[in-house]
Each structure stands twice: as C-alpha cells, then as structure tokens.
C-alpha cells in the first residue's frame, strides 16, 4: 500500500507541478529579454546567457513584418545587401502573413521579447506609442530629411517626436470599373457627394439587374464610410487624442441611416453575400466578372483588385464629400509604419538598418512598390525612372493628396473602437438594428471605452 501511496503522491506532484510551475517563474520574465531566441542557430535549450553583444563583434537584430511573397523576397534581398555591407550585424527576418500578426506582437510586448524592428499596422501605431513600446526615433540617427514634413506629421501621434516611419503613401480609394461606369452613365470618377450614390445605384440596377454600384465589406466600409463621414462632419476624429467623443448620437444616427439606405436601396451588394470575402473583395466571382462599378479599398490594394479582373478597364474614382463639411476628411496615410522596439538593445544599429532601408537608392530599387508608393520624393523618382510606378496607384495617391483631410489615427483606430464601429456597421448592413438603436449603443460603448482608458 505504501508503494501505491508514493506513486500517487508522485503523480499528484507532477500534475500540480505542471499547473503551478509557471507562477514561480513568471517573475523572472521581466529581467530576461530573450536575445537567445534571436539567432537562427541558437539552441533553444541554452538560455543562461542573455547574450551580451554590445561589446562583442556580432550584433543580431530581429525584423518582423507581414506581407505576401513579393514583399518577403524584396525585403530579404535588402537585408542581405545590408548584411554584406555591415558584416558585424546580422538580421533575423521574422515574416508571416497578417493573420495573427498583431496578436503575436501583443504577446511579445507583454513579455518584452518583441523584435527590434517592427512593421506596425497604421491604425495601431498610436496605440503602441501610448503603450510605450515604440522607440522615439527623433533620438536616433534615422535620417528623416528625404521625407515630406507635412506627411510625417502622421508619425508623431500628436507629440513632438517621430515614433515610426511611414513605409509608403496611400489612402482610401474607389477602384472603378470604367467600362461599367460609362455604360450605366455613372460619373463616379468626377468630384461628387455621398448623396449622389443613391441616384447612381439606381442607374446601375436599371442598366444591369445583376450589377451593383458598390462592392463593400465591413472591414473596409466601416473605415471608408463611418470614419471618413465623421471627419467631414466634425473635422475631428471620432475619439480624439484626449479621449473625447466628438460625434453626437444624432450624427452617428445620420451616418448609420446613410448606411441603411445603401443596403436597402441596393446601392451596395448585399452584406450577407460579401461577408465571406472579408477584405478580399477581389475574390468575389462578380468582381472578376466586372459586375460592380466600384470597390472600396486602399491605394495599396489597387494592384490586387485590378489583377483579379484582367478584362476590365480600371480607373480611380473621386472620393465622396458632404455638402456641408468641416473639412474634406480624406487623407493620405501610409499603408503601415516601421518602428524600433523600445526595449531593443541595439537601437542605433536598428536605425542604421532603417536608414539603409529607406534612404539607400539600391534598397529603394529592390523594394519597388512592395509597400505601396514609396514615402519619399527621392524614392519615387528612382521608381519612376525604373518604370516601376503603377500609374493607377500613383494617381490614387495624388487624388488622396488633393483633399485637405487629416488622419484620425489614435484611439479611433484602436482595436476596441474599431470593433465597436464594425459591429454597428454590420448590425445596420444586416438590418438587425435601426440606425437610432445602433447609434445609442455605439455612443454607450465608446463612452465605456473612454471611461476605461482615459485617466
């Protein structure tokens, strides 16, 4: 019996040990910045040494980004060129798709193991800055002189310093099927107002009962309609940097009513039909067949949208405005940022790499358009000289530059507010809430968010 008890005790210890082992070790995390996980070759079991490389010869930096094949290849080529020039620095690439990218970063921030150089989603830049995970780039040697100062405003997140580098220029875009627009008599490539969409939607349905004016899905349309219209109404972000809600319930209701009409009057294709495609509206067979006049998207996705329907002639639409507006609302924004991790042990070397990445002619040539139209005039000239510039993409950036909008990056684009606005959009698009109810709920939810976050 004693033997049996001993075994039982052992088994119970193993179990409890497994459950609680973590609590004891958790405290140690703060001090252990895992440099050891950086090197590709590093044996995962050898851990004691937090690899102090500052005095040694070899410095290792981790660089994480998301993207598709062409972006991976081009970025890897630039890393290789940089390593050839700086033999004492190696850069470990950590690339993936955007699925789970932000979730992984959040986990890494929580245990201070994030990569030294980080590609950041545009909307999350300001949130990261507030969390203190981004290095102040004004304190590093990164050379901003090639950048246009007014465009760089966006990388300050309301402070006096630069916290991130915009990787390119882009903005909201209406990607227009010129053939269908002409045939149905819809001048969407001319300056117009939101209200014009209803008349045009009717024209398109009359011309071809299978066609719609707009292809729009929640993740794209919530930004395109709710956020842009709000900026035009008030001239401010829905939740400004000081955590004030700038939009009234009545104004929310007005915007939501506009969305309701879009769906009820069949201006936009049914939400239930487009929901499965998410942001990938170009995968919709009806898009491939050219049955939409326009898709809501971004300059950076124009290539993807046009490539999906090779038989169609494409053009850039102008962006809709309110007749009575505080400002134009539309803005030129980078498709993403690149920043340096606050807890990076080698910020100077990271800045050196970023200088090479953004300000070196050879790198610019290698990178081409993999992160949209480059952010500096210097780079744009090189790309144009190479004949790489996609005219449609460039025109889209020029259109967005022609409006005097401003970026609402900040609390408005944080993950929570985004979720609140998206769910409101969806409830209206699917007809499960009236605009008034949705407006009341949205205001309530945003106020809760503000109460939890401002102090």
């Amino acid at each position: 019996m004693r033997k049996k008890n001993l075994l039982a005790l052992g088994l119970a210890a193993v179990l409890l040990g497994g459950l609680f082992a973590g609590c004891g070790n958790g405290a140690a995390t703060e001090t252990t910045t895992t440099n050891d996980t950086t090197t590709e070759e590093a044996d995962s079991t050898d851990q004691e040494e937090p690899a102090d490389t500052t005095n040694g010869e070899q410095i290792n930096l981790r660089f994480s980004w998301w993207g598709g094949e062409s972006r991976h290849e081009a970025t890897l080529a630039v890393i290789e060129a940089f390593e050839a020039e700086h033999p004492n620095i190696t850069i470990t690439p950590e690339f993936s798709s955007i699925d789970g990218y932000a979730a992984r970063l959040t986990t890494q921030f929580a245990s201070r193991t994030a990569p030294d150089i980080i590609q950041v989603e545009t909307g999350l830049g300001s949130e990261y800055q507030r969390q203190g995970v981004l290095k102040n780039l004004s304190e590093t040697d990164f050379d901003f002189s090639n950048f246009d100062e007014s465009f760089l405003e966006i990388a300050k997140f309301g402070t006096d310093s630069y916290w991130a580098i915009p990787t390119g220029m882009g903005g909201s875009a209406l990607i227009v099927n010129q053939d269908l627009a002409d045939a149905a008599g819809v001048p969407i490539t001319e300056p117009h107002e939101w209200e014009d969409w209803f008349e045009w939607g009717r024209l398109v349905r009359e011309y071809d009962p299978e066609a719609y004016l707009l292809s729009a899905s929640t993740p794209l349309a919530y930004a395109f309609i709710i956020r842009a219209m709000a900026r035009q109404m008030t001239g401010e972000a829905i939740v400004d940097r000081d955590f004030n809600l700038t939009l009234t319930e009545a104004q929310f209701e007005e915007i939501f009513d506009f969305i309701r009409r879009l769906y009820e009057e069949e201006v936009a294709a049914p939400a239930s039909y487009l929901a499965p495609f998410g942001e990938q509206l170009q995968q919709d067979p009806n898009w491939v067949a050219g049955r939409y006049v326009a898709a809501m998207g971004y300059s950076s996705s124009i290539e993807v949208f046009t490539a999906a329907a090779p038989d169609v002639t494409f053009a850039n639409g102008r962006l809709p405005l309110l007749p009575d507006r505080a400002n134009d609302g539309w803005v030129t924004e980078p498709p993403q940022f690149i920043g340096i991790y606050y807890y990076s042990e080698h910020p100077e070397e990271a800045a050196k790499f970023l200088n090479f990445f953004f300000n070196n002619a050879e790198s610019v040539r290698t990178l081409g358009l993999v992160r949209s139209i480059p952010p500096t005039a210097f780079a744009q000239e090189i790309i144009e000289g190479e004949g790489l510039l996609d005219p449609l993409m460039m025109e889209s950036v020029e259109i967005s530059l022609s409006y005097n909008g401003f970026s609402d990056g900040g609390p408005t684009t944080s993950a929570e507010v985004r979720a609140i606005l998206e769910s409101a959009f969806e409830d209206i698009a699917f007809g499960t809430l009236t605009p008034a109810d949705a407006a009341a709920r949205t205001v309530q939810q945003i106020e809760d968010f503000i109460a939890a976050n401002s102090n």
Binding site: L11, T37, G68
Partner: protein, 282 residues
C-alpha cells in the same frame, strides 16, 4: 421478389445514398486538388471542377517559399514538432489518468477539479501567461514549448477522456493482478494498457491532428521562418496587398493535408474503435 433480392436492392440503395453523401463530404478536397492547376481567374470566375489544363508548374513553384526555404524544411519541422508531442501526450496523460482513476490520496478531488477547470479556459486567455513562462524557461522559437506541455500533461481533455475510460474498467482486474504479484506499475502496463488501446489511439490521433493543424500556438511560440511548420508556411504567401497565386497555395495545401488523409485511412480501424468505445461505460 425473393427475400435475397430484396436485401440486395436495399443494399444497393443504401450504398448509392452513402456514396452521394460521401462525395459531398470529400468534394472540398477534390476541388482543392483540381484548383491546384487553375489560374486565379479560373478559381474565382468559374464553377467548373476540372481545370482547363494540367501542369506540375504550381507544385514546383509552390514548393519553394520566400527566402529560398522549401516545403521539405516545413514538413520536417511539422513532424519534428508533432510526433514527439503526440507520444509525450499519450504517455503523460495515461500516467496522470491512472493516478486519478485508481488511487486515493489527499486533495484528489481538488486536484481533479483544478484539472477540469483548466479544460474550460479558452486558449486566448492562457496564451500570454504561457508565453511568459516559456520565455523565462528559454524554450521559445522552437518546439520545446510543445514538448514541455505534452510531457506535463497540459492537455486536460485527454486526461479526462482516459480517466473516464479507466473508470469503466472493473477494479477486479487490478485486484487479481495484485494477488498474482503485480505492482502498481505492472498493473498499468500489463493489465490496463492493453484494454486502453483504443482510447490511447484516439487520444494520439486527435493530438496528432490538432497539433499538425494548429496555427495560433505555433505562430505565437515560433518566430524564425526556418522553424515554421507546414501549416504556418501556407500563410506566408497570403496577403491582402499583393497578388496571390492561388494555384500554388492550393497545390501546397493539398500536399499539407495529404499526410492527415493517409494517417486517417491507415488508422481508421483504431480511430473508429476509439471513438465508439470511449463512449461506453461499464
């Protein structure tokens, strides 16, 4: 109609119905296979199953991923991660389940309750503490995290499943083994394990499938692309801002599910056995 003829007709009808349902079930796989040979416009613009032409190009193009890494690396990584994880899970879960099912010790109820409560925790909640723990143990960016969790029986579902199964085995067997001179460990290996076989197989198969298909945990625990598993590698070429060559993605997806399909057919007998018997009590 004779009784025999009646029986045959009945069987024929039954088989036809089963084949139709079976085709419905397997259609996505077949579609995926044929889509490997299609261009993007064909995939999204047409409903035809068969491609306009067959060529091995998508397989050759898809095999090499960004940075010159090939799927040979990714497949090797997958197996290096999945096989030990599966074996460790089965071993550790059996031991823990044995403890709970056959022994009486102080705090057993509490320990079991804690174990069960971890079963209710969603993965999204435990992932950050786990990451922090694994970070301080230095097992990140490798498969150590997965091995560690399986060695420590951190999969309460399997423990629970095996406990339930063992409770169904009469203790008379243990007692007669004890009389014949078996110790506690021998009772487990010689008497209980053979009876447990179907349950062990289903635990192993499930763990294999789940670990192999897992995306989220691997994504969080592994950073280096050279250590990516096949499931993670599939996502490397997908991005909203670049044109995706879906033919190659489909070709590789097909190759990635192939081991699971083969495994299922090879172990089908045990799999069905395991599912059928784990539901039985007494």
């Amino acid at each position: 109609m004779s009784r025999k003829a009646k029986k045959t007709t009945k069987e024929i009808i039954m088989y036809i119905v089963l084949i139709i349902i079976g085709l419905f079930m397997i259609y996505p796989l077949i579609w995926m296979f044929f889509s490997s040979f299609k261009t993007n416009e064909e995939i999204f613009g047409s409903v035809a199953l068969l491609p306009q032409m067959f060529s091995l190009e998508p397989f050759i193009h898809g095999w090499t991923s960004a940075g010159g890494l090939t799927y040979a690396t990714f497949f090797r990584n997958s197996f290096v991660m999945v096989v030990p994880t599966t074996i460790f899970t089965v071993l550790s879960s059996t031991l823990v389940a044995y403890g709970f099912a056959r022994f009486h010790f102080r705090g057993k109820k509490l320990a079991f309750a804690i174990l069960l409560s971890t079963l209710m925790l969603p993965n999204a909640i435990v992932i950050i503490p786990r990451y922090t723990i694994f970070n301080s143990l230095g097992v990140l960016d490798g498969y150590g995290a997965f091995y560690l969790m399986s060695i420590l029986a951190c999969y309460p579902f399997f423990v629970y499943m095996l406990v339930q199964f063992m409770r169904g085995i009469p203790t008379d067997l243990d007692e007669s083994a004890y009389i014949d001179g078996c110790g506690t460990f021998k009772t487990l290996t010689l008497i209980l394990l053979p009876i447990l076989k179907p349950a062990l197989f289903s635990a192993g198969l499930f763990q294999f499938l789940w670990t192999y298909n897992d995306y989220f945990n691997s994504l969080i625990f592994i950073h280096s692309v050279s250590r990516f598993t096949a499931t993670m590698a599939l996502r490397l070429s997908l991005d909203a801002e670049s044109v995706v060559n879906w033919g190659s993605v489909m070709a590789m997806s097909f190759l990635v599910v192939l081991p699971l399909v083969i495994l299922f057919f090879v172990c089908q007998k045990y799999f069905v056995d395991g599912i059928a018997t784990t539901g039985l009590k007494g």
